[in-house]
C-alpha cells in the first residue's frame, strides 16, 4: 500500500505537483491517467525514492520515501518512461545484469518472469537496441520483475507502442496482479483506464478525480449525446453555436455533445436540419473516461 499525503514539488517556477493526497491500495492495478506535463513522472520518481518532495510525505508499505529509502528500494520494481535498457547489451545480458544488481540470478527467478520473458526469449542473443518497441517494452518489464518486487511502478509503459503490443502488455499486467503484485502505472491513453482497478485523473500537477473507472464515468453529471453526420467539421461548429452551455468534441466516428441541462433533442435536430445538415444521428450515450477527463479539465478551468 502506498499512502501519499499533501505532496508538492516544484521545479524552478513550475509546480509539477500541487498538494496531492491519495491512497494506492495493495494488490491492485492503479492507473494515473493524464497527458504529458501532468506530473505523472515526478510523482513516480517520488514514490520510487528517486526524488524528495518539497512538502508532504509518502509511505510505501509503511516506509518513508525520504528516511527509509533503502528499504523501499529492496521491494520496488521500476520501469522508467524511457525503457531503461542497455542497447549495446543483448536481451539475456540485460536480464542477467539487472538480476545481479538485485543479488539474484536469471535462473533462480526465471519462473517469475516466464510469462513475460517467453515472448522475447527466442531473441535472447539479440542486442536490445535492435528490438522492436513492443519487445523492448517486454524486456524492460522482465528486468523490472527479475527481483520479485512487491510493488511495480511503470511510467508510461505503453507510450509509442502499437495497439497490439499494448493489449498484450495489459494482459501481462493482469497476470501479475493475480500473483498478488501491486502495480502502479501511468498512461496518456484514456482508453487504457478501463483496464485499471482504480484510476486517478491528473492534469497540470493536480488531481482531478480518483475512483474506480466505473464510478468516475457513473458520476458524470452532464447529458451526453453522440452526434454523427456527413461533414463533421461543419457539424461541430454548428453544434457549438447551438446554445450556451454545450460543449462538443470529436470522438472518433461521432461528436460527443454534452449539455448542462436536459436538452430538447427534437429541437436540436430541427436546428441542424435548418443549417443544412441532412442525415444527422443523435443518440444518448454513456460517458467514457475521456469524456470525464475533458469535463473535469474544463470545469477546473484548467486548459
Amino acid at each position: 500500500m502506498i499512502s501519499i499525503s499533501n505532496i508538492s514539488k516544484t521545479f524552478g517556477q513550475i509546480a509539477a505537483l500541487s498538494n496531492i493526497t491519495l491512497e494506492i491500495p495493495a494488490k491492485q492495478i492503479f492507473g494515473f491517467i493524464g497527458p504529458d506535463g501532468a506530473g505523472k513522472t515526478t510523482l513516480f520518481r517520488l514514490i520510487t525514492t528517486l526524488m524528495v518532495p518539497d512538502s508532504g510525505a509518502i509511505l510505501v508499505n509503511g516506509f518513508d520515501t525520504v528516511k527509509e529509502y533503502r528499504r523501499i528500494r529492496m521491494f520496488t520494481g521500476y520501469m522508467p518512461g524511457r525503457f531503461s535498457l542497455y542497447m549495446d547489451l543483448t536481451v539475456e545480458e540485460n536480464l542477467n545484469f539487472y538480476a545481479t544488481i538485485f543479488g539474484t540470478t536469471l535462473e533462480k527467478n526465471y519462473h517469475l518472469i516466464k510469462s513475460v520473458y517467453s515472448h522475447i526469449e527466442p531473441f535472447r542473443k539479440r542486442l536490445a537496441g535492435k528490438l522492436s518497441g513492443g519487445m523492448k517494452q517486454k524486456l524492460a518489464l522482465s528486468c523490472a520483475l527479475i527481483h520479485n518486487p512487491e510493488i511495480l511502478v511503470l511510467d508510461e509503459p505503453t507510450t509509442g507502442v502499437d495497439a497490439v503490443s499494448r493489449k498484450e502488455f495489459w494482459e501481462l499486467l493482469h497476470e501479475l496482479k493475480q500473483k498478488g503484485m501491486t502495480i502502479v502505472v501511468s498512461t496518456p491513453y484514456m482508453d487504457e483506464a478501463a483496464k485499471c482497478d482504480t484510476i486517478a485523473l491528473v492534469h497540470k500537477g493536480r488531481l482531478l478525480e480518483t475512483d474506480k473507472p466505473g464510478k468516475i464515468t457513473g458520476s458524470f453529471k452532464e447529458h451526453l449525446f453522440a452526434v454523427s453526420g456527413e461533414n463533421q467539421f461543419r457539424l461541430i461548429n454548428d453544434l457549438r453555436n447551438y446554445q450556451p452551455g454545450v460543449s462538443a468534441y470529436l470522438f472518433g466516428q461521432a461528436i460527443h455533445l454534452s449539455f448542462n441541462t436536459k436538452p430538447d433533442i427534437n429541437h436540436l435536430k430541427m436546428h441542424l436540419a435548418k443549417s443544412g445538415h441532412g442525415d444527422v444521428k443523435v443518440e444518448p450515450i454513456m460517458p467514457s473516461v475521456e469524456d470525464c477527463f475533458i469535463s473535469s479539465m474544463t470545469s477546473s478551468g484548467n486548459h
Binding site: 528500494r73 522508467p80 542497455y86 545481479t100
Partner: protein, 368 residues
C-alpha cells in the same frame, strides 16, 4: 560482492562492444605517441652546416666529403676561426658546425685516436639531436672502414655540444606529457562519459532505485578503466623504449606506482565531472575544458612552465599533470628515486583524496 562483479562485467561489455571507445582506448595512445614522436623525428634533409677544419689533411677531407655527400647536409661555409662560430649560429644560417682538431690524421695514425667536435643549435632541441646523431653516424661509419684497413683499432672522439639548450630539456618530453594526457583522457573523460550516458538513457534511474549503493556504482564504473589505463601506461612506456629509445633510468616499480596514483586522481576527477554533467555532451565539454586543455597547455608538456607569465605559472600549481610529468621525467630521464619526488607525490595524493571525497559527497543517491 556478486552484484559488483556483475556490474564490472557489464562495463567491460560496453567497452568491448563499442568500436569508438576501443579506438580511443587503444588506438589513440599509440597514434598519439607515434605522431608526437615523428613530429620530433622528422626526416632531415639538406641541413646547412659549416666545417671548421684545423687539420686540413686527407682524413678530415674524406670525412667532410662523406658528410656532404650523404644527402642530409649541405655545406654553407668553411670557417677558419673558432670566433666565427657564435656569430654564424646567431645569424641562424646553419644548424651545425663540425670542428676537426689540428693534426687529425697524424693523431689518428700515431695514437689511434683523434677528436672531432660537433656543435648543434639546440634551440630546436629535437632536430638538433637528430642532426648530431646523423653526423656521428657518418663519422663512425668512416672509422669502421678505416679500422679494417689499419692494423690497430682506431678511435675518433666525437664530442657533442649543444648550443643554447645544453641539457636538451624537452627532447624526450613528449613521452611523459603524452602519458599524462592519455591517462587523463582515458580515465577521466571515458568514466565521466560512461556515467553521463546512463543518466541520458535513463538506466541510471533504475540503478539508483536498486539496492546498489553509490560506492558500488562508482567502483563498478571505475574498475575497468583502472585496468585499461594501466595497460595503456605500459604500452606507452614500451613504445617510448622500443620505438624512440627512451630509457627508464629509475625504478620501474616506482614509475608504475606513481602512474596508478595519477590514474586514481584522473578517475576521481572523472566521477566528479559526471556528478555535474547531465548528459554525454556536457561531460565531454567539461572533460575537454577542465582536463584536456590544462594538461596540454599548462602542465609543461609542450610549453615550458618557466617561460610562462607569472600568473599562469601560479595556475600550473593546481594542474595535476604538472606534478605527474615532473615525476615521470625525474624517474625516466634522470633516474631519481622516491626521495626526490616525494613532494610532488604528496601533492598528488592530497588532490586524489580531495577529489574522491568531493565526488563521493556530490554523487547523489537520487535524481535532481
Amino acid at each position: 560482492m556478486n552484484n559488483l562483479a556483475g556490474f564490472i562485467k557489464k562495463e567491460f561489455i560496453h567497452i568491448l562492444r563499442d568500436p569508438r571507445t576501443l579506438i580511443i582506448l587503444f588506438g589513440l595512445p599509440v597514434v598519439q605517441i607515434l605522431i608526437f614522436g615523428f613530429v620530433i623525428r622528422n626526416e632531415i634533409q639538406d641541413v646547412k652546416i659549416a666545417i671548421l677544419d684545423y687539420s686540413k689533411d686527407d682524413v678530415t677531407r674524406e670525412i667532410t666529403n662523406k658528410i656532404l655527400s650523404s644527402g642530409f647536409f649541405v655545406l654553407s661555409e668553411n670557417l677558419t676561426e673558432n670566433n666565427d662560430i657564435e656569430e654564424i649560429f646567431r645569424e641562424g644560417k646553419i644548424r651545425e658546425v663540425v670542428i676537426f682538431e689540428s693534426q687529425f690524421a697524424r693523431k689518428l695514425e700515431r695514437e689511434g685516436k683523434a677528436s672531432v667536435q660537433v656543435l648543434a643549435d639546440a634551440s630546436d632541441p629535437n632536430s638538433a639531436s637528430l642532426v648530431v646523431n646523423y653526423t656521428r653516424g657518418i663519422i663512425f661509419d668512416y672509422l669502421k672502414k678505416a679500422s679494417k684497413e689499419a692494423a690497430q683499432p682506431l678511435k675518433i672522439n666525437a664530442e657533442v655540444r649543444m648550443m643554447y639548450n645544453p641539457g636538451l630539456k624537452s627532447a624526450f618530453m613528449f613521452v611523459p606529457g603524452t602519458m599524462a594526457l592519455i591517462l587523463m583522457l582515458v580515465s577521466a573523460m571515458m568514466t565521466s562519459i560512461s556515467i553521463a550516458r546512463e543518466k541520458e538513457t535513463g538506466t541510471m534511474e533504475v540503478l539508483l532505485v536498486s539496492p546498489l549503493r553509490p560506492i558500488h556504482i562508482i567502483v563498478g564504473k571505475v574498475t575497468p578503466y583502472i585496468l585499461l589505463s594501466c595497460i595503456n601506461a605500459v604500452v606507452i612506456i614500451a613504445l617510448g623504449y622500443f620505438v624512440f629509445g627512451l630509457p627508464v633510468k629509475g625504478s620501474l616499480v616506482l614509475l608504475l606506482a606513481e602512474t596508478v596514483l595519477f590514474i586514481s586522481l584522473a578517475l576521481s576527477l572523472g566521477i566528479l565531472i559526471s556528478t555535474m554533467a547531465s548528459n554525454q555532451q556536457v561531460a565531454m565539454f567539461l572533460s575537454v575544458f577542465v582536463l584536456m586543455l590544462p594538461t596540454i597547455l599548462l602542465s609543461g608538456f609542450i610549453f615550458p612552465i618557466e617561460n610562462m607569465p607569472k600568473i599562469l605559472q601560479w595556475v600550473t600549481f593546481i594542474v595535476p599533470p604538472r606534478y605527474f610529468i615532473e615525476i615521470l621525467r625525474s624517474i625516466m630521464l634522470k633516474g631519481t628515486g622516491f626521495f626526490n619526488i616525494w613532494q610532488q607525490t604528496t601533492v598528488l595524493i592530497g588532490m586524489t583524496l580531495f577529489f574522491i571525497i568531493l565526488s563521493a559527497v556530490k554523487f547523489k543517491t537520487r535524481l535532481e
